[in-house]
């Protein structure tokens, strides 16, 4: 690591001030992505602002037809939450399969969405569920945040809460990369009043994306049977040492089918 300054504010406004005052400062949530990058000297930051002492950022609440999860809620807290389980059980399953217990006890939903790793799990759920990302300055639709057009938050922006509209059905099915346990391919399927969404993660260099062919088929009939004949175009998918584009395209079909099975189970 390169040397850096460290503060641990106890209010959001203190954090905002610290962030505004120091160009290049970075927010620290669970540190599960940021700290490894710092250790490898891939990043040099003048100041780390640790969000862990700010109260109220890890609240989980049902608000009418919305499930609200604070940005600093850890994966383990989501996985253990009865509120989440009652509202969107598929999220409990998703959070419970991120990394390993250490990662789940430290890593946060906000950190995961802000970081937006192309193989991360939460972004798939956020896009499939058409979540709203609430920051200290605005509310951003996941559709915009993950469209590739919107390159993350502004320098002085702090994600505070994620609002998930509660769908009729939702499930996430992941084929883990055997080494990292990130998604080699993961598919989130949501059926809501506004329609069906299918989102793939792990397969695209720019992160999560919707899969229109599968959405069309599932909108016509929400069952795994209709998916079998659909061949996913592999031309824009990731090829790497863990799997080529053709394999990933195939897995999108398989994981979507399994997510649909889980939705209907």
């Amino acid at each position: 690591m390169y040397a850096f300054e460290y503060v641990r504010p106890s209010t959001l406004s203190e954090a905002e001030r610290a962030l505004a005052a120091q160009p290049g400062a970075k927010l620290l949530a669970g540190g599960q992505s940021l700290i490894p990058a710092l250790k490898l000297r891939l990043n040099r930051v003048p100041l780390l602002i640790d969000l862990s002492a700010i109260t109220g950022l890890n609240r989980i609440e049902r608000r009418g037809n919305l499930l609200a999860i604070g940005a600093m809620t850890t994966h383990a807290e989501v996985a253990a939450s009865s509120v989440v389980k009652a509202a969107i059980p598929g999220l409990v399953h998703l959070a419970g399969n991120i990394g390993d217990p250490q990662v789940r006890n430290a890593g946060t939903i906000g950190g995961s969405l802000a970081n937006n790793d192309p193989a991360a799990d939460y972004p798939a759920a956020a896009l499939a569920l058409a979540a709203m990302l609430k920051t200290n300055r605005q509310e951003i639709a996941a559709d915009n945040h993950f469209s590739g057009l919107f390159a993350g938050f502004a320098e002085d922006e702090i994600l505070t809460e994620i609002l998930f509209p509660i769908p009729r059905r939702f499930a996430y099915s992941k084929f883990p990369n055997p080494a990292s346990r990130f998604a080699l391919v993961g598919c989130a399927v949501a059926q809501a009043a506004t329609g069906v969404r299918v989102v793939a993660t792990g397969a695209g260099a720019n992160g999560v994306f919707r899969v229109p062919e599968l959405e069309t088929a599932l909108s016509a009939s929400f069952s795994p049977d209709g998916l079998k004949r659909i061949v996913i175009d592999s031309s824009n998918l990731t090829s790497d040492i863990h799997g080529d584009a053709e394999y990933r395209a195939h897995l999108i079909g398989v994981m979507t089918k399994r997510a649909v099975d889980a939705c209907l189970a």
Binding site: Y2, R41, P178, S180, H242, Y247, L251
Partner: protein, 788 residues
């Protein structure tokens, strides 16, 4: 019989300190005034060094010194060595390129050592390292094993034309050709034995200091064999004479071979400690371990078997290219030769074998011994061959093996090994039963009904442990003897210290060696301490690898105990005033036959040191004996492993559903520890066959250089192992033990690939059988079926 004696599943005494964080590893050692070493490593797989500019770095805060290869050369520090001379077919000695601890004018793999920075803190050393400007002229790299010998490839060492270290062979070519000529069936396989990255849980580390008053050095290091490290550092590197060099390997967190070798880092740290007059500490970080610890395996092999019409093997022909990396690591040359080909006969009565091996340089991390070292490679060759031969000939693979098993011992193979004892059919029978082989068809039907592919595979492995005797291996080119030493120090109060030249880094010697003493002296294990890993304490030793510690080290303990008992008997006789030959020693008590006189072991120990009751002109006071034990032969553990897998054809994911291991390790000192060794070995073997993939790109960059990409086995990847033993005691050592540390890693890969290919219905899959590869293989299966 002692409750803590031989054969008892005594809990590992050392685990309390490991589990409670009280272990003392090299990284835990700090010396006053120490500086931290950081190595500048080559980012290129192959490059000329035009210049190394250190002016800015040397002025950076906290920097105590920066050194390059030129500084070592100026101080006449020797190059790193390879301690086993291999001769090519034509009789010429192997072509070995120089291996400087810090590069001189060329770097030969990404991670090669270019300079060392010493500073008050690690971070300062890293900061300064970034200020060093190395002017590299990148050169094309020879990266891939199967291409590296082509004339068009870049030359890595002038001394080795066509990047060929040796072209070695073993066996009778003419006899094999004749066997193939008259064969009714021939089987041919071509495959890669994948390169593995060792990944001991504790990264390598070194803390070196120089004492100007005595002129002596102390090196604390993560070593499996501290005495060999001292010998090499003094005799070849020229740091200091042995009597001025103390090497301590304290608690060491796993080695698997990777900590046998004498690496650049400990040489540089020891030398630099004197150079700058301050202790020097280096601890590898995990990223460094990936590129700087010697890797394992990496063979490309074409293997052929010739059978008669009944499936009797007539001959084997094996052609292997072995990737040795960019430099010859300490024992690299021996692994694909004398640790490999002598095991190619497996458990089978094979009349003729011929094996050719090319040792090949590439611009990659050096390759050396890794758990099993040569023997997993040999087992993979023979166990894949027999399995495929059986399938091709329509003979049940178990039956095919039964037909070919050696049944008479001793058995001389055509490839040097002389097997002393074994009972292969017995092992197979137990394995078939434990694995419920008869129920497999039903389990397969259940899997098929779920849309899954199920397969079962065997591996009837053999290994050679406790490599010996020293005269024999010396004749094969080894630069060391492979005996072991032990010293038994009995204290006046009857407690005992065992000093062993073996070194424990996870194996549990502090328990098992103490059990031997407990058994023999009839004292509880808590009165016995095992001391190892310090050249100032232990007289001499060859360390731990090759499953040698019980067979060789344990036998040395037995020999030293023999001497202790002999002397104690003489003293007891004097004390009891009876003739020596009337004294018996059982369960810790000396008794005089025909009398009611007895003395406990501790009483005799006290008398040995009081020396009041015997004539010290006749018997020396004290009770301390040592022994050097050289075995008469290797030991030959063997066994049968049966793997059962279920493949999800949709994703290519393979689940290991069942694992049966039936091993013959001879007598067991501690069955619980043996079982643990088997578990760990199988886990690593499953890792090799399913998960662990090392990938270099065409420019020689290691792409799998972290756990994000290099997949180590996790508990969830493994089934519950069903482990059983059939024990035929080993005749060539006093304990009757054979060695168990590598068995699982040797047996497992072939069993697993045999199971996967059985499920697939064809043989086209390489290790590791990753989900992506298996998915392709399933598609190939569909194509093959369609074509039929």
């Amino acid at each position: 019989m002692s409750e803590t004696g031989i054969g008892k599943p005594v809990r590992r005494r050392e685990d309390i300190r490991f589990i409670t964080g009280n272990g003392r590893y090299t990284a835990d050692i700090n010396r006053p005034g120490q500086v931290y070493a950081v190595f500048v490593r080559s980012p290129h797989a192959h490059a000329r060094i035009r210049n190394i500019e250190t002016t800015a770095a040397i002025a950076a805060p906290g920097v105590a010194g920066i050194f390059t290869g030129k500084d070592l050369e100026a101080d006449r520090i020797g190059k790193l060595i390879c301690g086993w001379m291999i001769h090519s077919k034509d009789g010429s000695p192997m072509n070995m390129g120089a291996h400087p601890a810090l590069a001189l004018d060329r770097v030969r793999y990404a991670g090669d050592h270019v300079a060392v920075v010493l500073a008050d803190s690690v971070e300062q050393a890293k900061d300064a390292a970034e200020l060093i400007a190395v002017d590299y002229e990148p050169l094309p790299a020879a990266v891939h094993l199967t291409e590296a010998q082509a004339a068009s490839q870049p030359q890595i060492h002038e001394e080795a034309p066509n990047n060929t270290v040796y072209q070695w062979h073993l066996g009778d070519k003419a006899a094999v050709d004749a066997a193939f000529a008259r064969a009714a069936h021939r089987t041919r396989l071509e495959f890669t034995n994948n390169r593995l990255i060792p990944n001991a849980i504790e990264p390598r580390a070194a803390v070196a200091e120089y004492d100007a008053a005595s002129g002596g050095y102390t090196l604390y290091t993560t070593s499996q064999n501290p005495h060999v490290t001292r010998l090499v550092l003094s005799a070849f590197i020229g740091i200091a004479p042995e009597n001025r060099l103390r090497v301590v390997a304290p608690d060491v967190g796993g080695g698997f071979g990777s900590k046998i070798f004498i690496y650049a880092e400990e040489v540089v740290c020891t030398w630099a400690a004197r150079k700058i007059g301050r202790p020097v500490k280096w601890v590898a970080d995990r990223s460094e371990s990936f590129v700087a610890d010697a890797h394992g395996r990496d063979h490309h092999t074409v293997a052929q078997a010739a059978m008669d019409a009944e499936g009797k093997i007539l001959g084997l022909r094996v052609r292997t290219k072995a990737n040795l990396g960019a430099y010859l690591s300490t024992f690299a040359s021996s692994v694909p030769t004398y640790l490999y080909a002598p095991l190619l006969s497996g458990q089978y009565d094979v009349p003729a074998i011929y094996c050719e091996v090319d040792g090949v340089y590439t611009n990659t991390t050096p390759v050396d011994a890794y758990r099993g070292a040569g023997r997993p490679e040999a087992t993979f060759v023979i166990e894949r061959l027999v399995e495929v031969a059986a399938r091709e000939m329509g003979i049940d693979p178990a039956e095919f093996r039964m037909r070919n098993f050696i049944r008479k011992f001793p058995h001389q193979t055509p490839v040097l090994s002389n097997y002393d004892v074994g009972n292969y059919p017995a092992c197979m029978k137990v394995a078939l039963e434990s694995a419920d082989h008869a129920g497999f068809a039903e389990r397969k039907r259940t899997s098929t009904a779920k849309g899954k592919l199920r397969g079962l595979g065997f591996s009837a492995y053999i290994e050679a442990c406790g490599i010996a005797p020293s005269t024999a291996i010396g004749a094969l080119g080894a630069g060391v003897g492979l005996w072991e030493s032990a010293e038994i120090r009995v204290n006046a109060t009857g407690t005992v210290e065992v000093l062993t030249g073996t070194h424990a880094h996870g194996q549990g010697h502090e328990t098992t060696l103490a059990q031997i003493v407990s058994e023999r002296l009839g004292i509880p294990i808590d009165q016995v301490s095992v001391i190892h890993g310090d050249t100032d304490k232990v007289q001499m030793g060859m360390g731990t690898y090759g499953s040698r510690s019980a067979a060789v080290g344990g036998s040395a303990v037995v020999r030293a105990l023999d001497k202790v008992v002999l002397k104690a008997t003489r003293i007891a006789a004097r004390c009891m005033e009876v003739p020596e030959d009337s004294v018996e020693f059982t369960d810790g008590v000396f008794s005089a036959r025909g009398t009611n006189r007895t003395m406990k072991f501790a009483e005799v120990a006290l008398q040995a040191y009081l020396a009041h009751k015997f004539d010290t002109a006749e018997i020396e006071p004290g009770l301390k004996e040592s022994a050097f034990y050289d075995p008469t032969n290797f030991t030959f553990p063997s066994g049968v492993h049966i793997a059962e897998v279920e493949i999800d054809p949709e994703t290519g994911n393979t689940r290991v559903e069942r694992w049966t291991a039936v091993d013959d390790f001879g007598n067991l000192i501690n069955p619980m520890i043996v079982e643990g060794q088997v578990h760990g070995g199988i886990a690593q073997g499953i890792g090799q066959a399913l998960l662990e993939r090392t990938v270099y790109d065409d420019t020689g960059q290691l792409l799998t250089a972290s756990y994000m990409d290099y997949c180590m086995p996790r508990a969830s990847d493994l089934p519950s192992f069903d482990v059983a033993m059939t024990n035929t005691p080993c005749p060539s050592n006093p304990l009757g033990v054979k060695g168990c540390g590598e068995a699982g890693a040797i047996a497992a890969p072939a069993a697993l690939i045999n199971a996967i290919t059985n499920a697939l219905g064809h043989e086209d899959i390489e290790m590791p059988a990753t989900p992506g590869a298996v998915w392709r293989a399933v598609a190939l299966r569909a194509e093959k079926r369609a074509a039929e």
